[in-house]
């Protein structure tokens, strides 16, 4: 879900922009290092593929079709850091050229879809990709990438005070769940097709790193997201979060800001942890 400008509260979009900038720089450098040689054409062309792939219709039922989002697929074929870089490029072009997502909100959209979404999608594959649960990990990766990024977006909107009664919230979550399952199914189907057509493009993650730490990281992300969602659900959301804070913070602005920042710092740290674990160099 691309968040347009005008939806997020100033402390939220500003914090996310500030958080996203060094993360993008770090991921860009990491992507350059992990690719065998300068692979600008490969990333660019596959980014164009993901864009174009959104036009291919997948039948979901009578008259309805869905489409691929692509973050997990990119992670499975390129690795998480290059996949993030491609997603950042896609989001930037979508925002600038198609006004799909805001410019000030780019930091939020990048964190949701290009960073957390890609990492969450890659994690099951990293853990189970080489085991007999491989097919499940492909499906779960696709589903998680969409689900986590959508929930994060929702959380950010709620923190910003966008009105969302429980009924609307439930419908949104149900829709997210459906999109997530669809993305999982499409991702799995395409990966299986690729394994037949061009097996060399599919990665084989080396087992290693610490699954425990990765689990903790992912759980932290999920808990933070779900926690924010529940706490913020409904018009009293902001007040509920604020009750966790010491009374010394008087100004409303500061309260909102610190509530937002606290949740997001938690998520950001979790992402860094996951990133370190998933990206640790393998011993061959």
């Amino acid at each position: 879900m691309h968040i347009p400008d005008g939806f997020l509260a100033t402390p939220v979009w500003a914090t996310l922009d500030v958080a996203a900038a060094p993360a993008v720089v770090y991921l860009t450098r990491r992507a350059q290092r992990t690719l065998e040689e300068n692979k600008v054409p490969l990333l660019g062309v596959l980014g164009a593929f993901v864009f174009a792939a959104q036009m291919i219709n997948f039948p979901v039922g009578p008259g309805t079709t869905g489409h691929l989002v692509g973050g997990a697929l990119l992670a499975f074929t390129l690795g998480p850091a290059p996949a993030s870089v491609v997603m950042v490029a896609i989001l930037a072009i979508q925002a600038l050229v198609f006004q799909d997502g805001g410019v000030l909100a780019l930091g939020a959209n990048i964190i949701n879809m290009a960073i957390v979404g890609v990492l969450a999608g890659y994690l099951p594959f990293h853990i189970w990709g080489e085991t007999r649960w491989r097919r499940f990990s492909l499906f779960a990766g696709g589903a998680l990438s969409v689900l986590v990024s959508a929930c994060l977006a929702l959380a950010e909107l709620l923190i910003s005070g966008v009105r969302m009664p429980v009924s609307v919230l439930s419908i949104s979550l149900a829709l997210f769940a459906v999109s997530a399952l669809l993305e999982g199914a499409i991702t799995l189907a395409v990966m299986q097709a690729l394994e037949r057509i061009q097996p060399k493009t599919v990665r084989h993650p080396q087992p290693g790193g610490s699954p425990v730490l990765a689990f903790i990281g992912l759980t932290a992300v999920l808990l933070a997201t779900v926690g924010v969602l529940f706490a913020a659900g409904g018009p009293d959301g902001i007040e509920k979060i604020l009750n966790l804070h010491p009374a010394s913070l008087h100004s409303t602005f500061l309260r909102q800001a610190s509530a937002g920042i606290l949740g997001l710092v938690l998520i950001y740290v979790a992402c860094l942890v996951i990133g370190r674990v998933a990206g640790r160099p393998r011993s061959l």
């Binding site: 400008d5 660019g44 980014g47 164009a48 870089v85 896609i90 061009q198 018009p235």
Partner: protein, 243 residues
């Protein structure tokens, strides 16, 4: 395709088109931030900003009505949330969502309609964004149309083979679409290898060397100053008047 029209607009030659992309980026950011940080007096401020944008569209010799309509792409999404806000008893927030999202989209549309994307990306390079990321963006944009055409052809071919009854066909069509995506991916991957070979064949050493970027001239400085000050001055003036 929708973008072809905007691409055409971007190739104009008005004074606004000729400004340095960095000047336009700075002006855009100031505009967006001024809009985003306003909560009191939003309707009046929004009218002022709309007038600024329309004036800029006229200066750029772009079709004003066409641009206003195109920026409406963001309205369906905002309208949903606006209606929910209104029903939840907060119509002011609903209006704010609609106004801010629309004006932001219009401002971004103005910039992209007066600056071809490759030029805009080069401008960002001069502002500290990692060049690897921007190079990926350039290639993405360059090959988006090529691969979209391939995707469209595959879509048509798949549709031509689709069975009429959907019950048993959903699974098959799903697999067929996945197969089509797999083939498209493989072709894109192969194309990337072709491109890489073509780059090596002309002596590529690892870095993209560029012809000289545009220089930041005095006209660009004047434009940046004026375009950045306008929303700020407007905001301060409105605050004074309403106080």
């Amino acid at each position: 395709m929708r973008h072809v029209v905007v691409d055409c607009w971007a190739r104009g030659s008005s004074l606004l088109h000729r400004r340095d992309p960095r000047a336009k980026i700075v002006a855009l950011l100031v505009f967006l931030i001024a809009l985003a940080t306003t909560s009191r007096g939003l309707p009046l401020f929004a009218c002022g900003l709309l007038l600024l944008l329309v004036a800029a569209l006229l200066w750029a010799r772009l079709p004003v009505w066409g641009a206003l309509v195109r920026a409406g792409i963001v309205l369906p999404f905002s309208a949903v949330f606006a209606i929910v806000s209104w029903l939840a008893g907060d119509p002011a927030r609903g209006a704010s969502l609609l106004i801010k999202s629309y004006l932001s989209a219009l401002a971004v549309l103005l910039v992209i309609s007066t600056t071809p994307l490759p030029v805009l990306l080069r401008g960002l390079e001069g502002m500290g964004v990692p060049h690897f990321l921007l190079d990926v963006g350039q290639f993405l944009y360059r090959y988006f149309f090529v691969i979209s055409e391939e995707a469209q052809r595959m879509n048509q071919a798949a549709a031509a083979r689709a069975a009429s009854s959907w019950q048993w066909a959903v699974g098959q069509r799903f697999r067929a679409s996945a197969g089509a995506l797999g083939v498209l991916f493989a072709r894109s991957y192969a194309r990337a290898e072709d491109i890489h070979r073509a780059m090596l064949a002309r002596g590529f050493q690892g870095r993209f060397l560029l012809l000289d970027a545009t220089r930041f001239r005095r006209a660009d400085l004047l434009f940046t100053a004026f375009a950045s000050l306008a929303p700020v001055v407007l905001r301060i003036a409105l605050d004074r008047v309403s106080a």
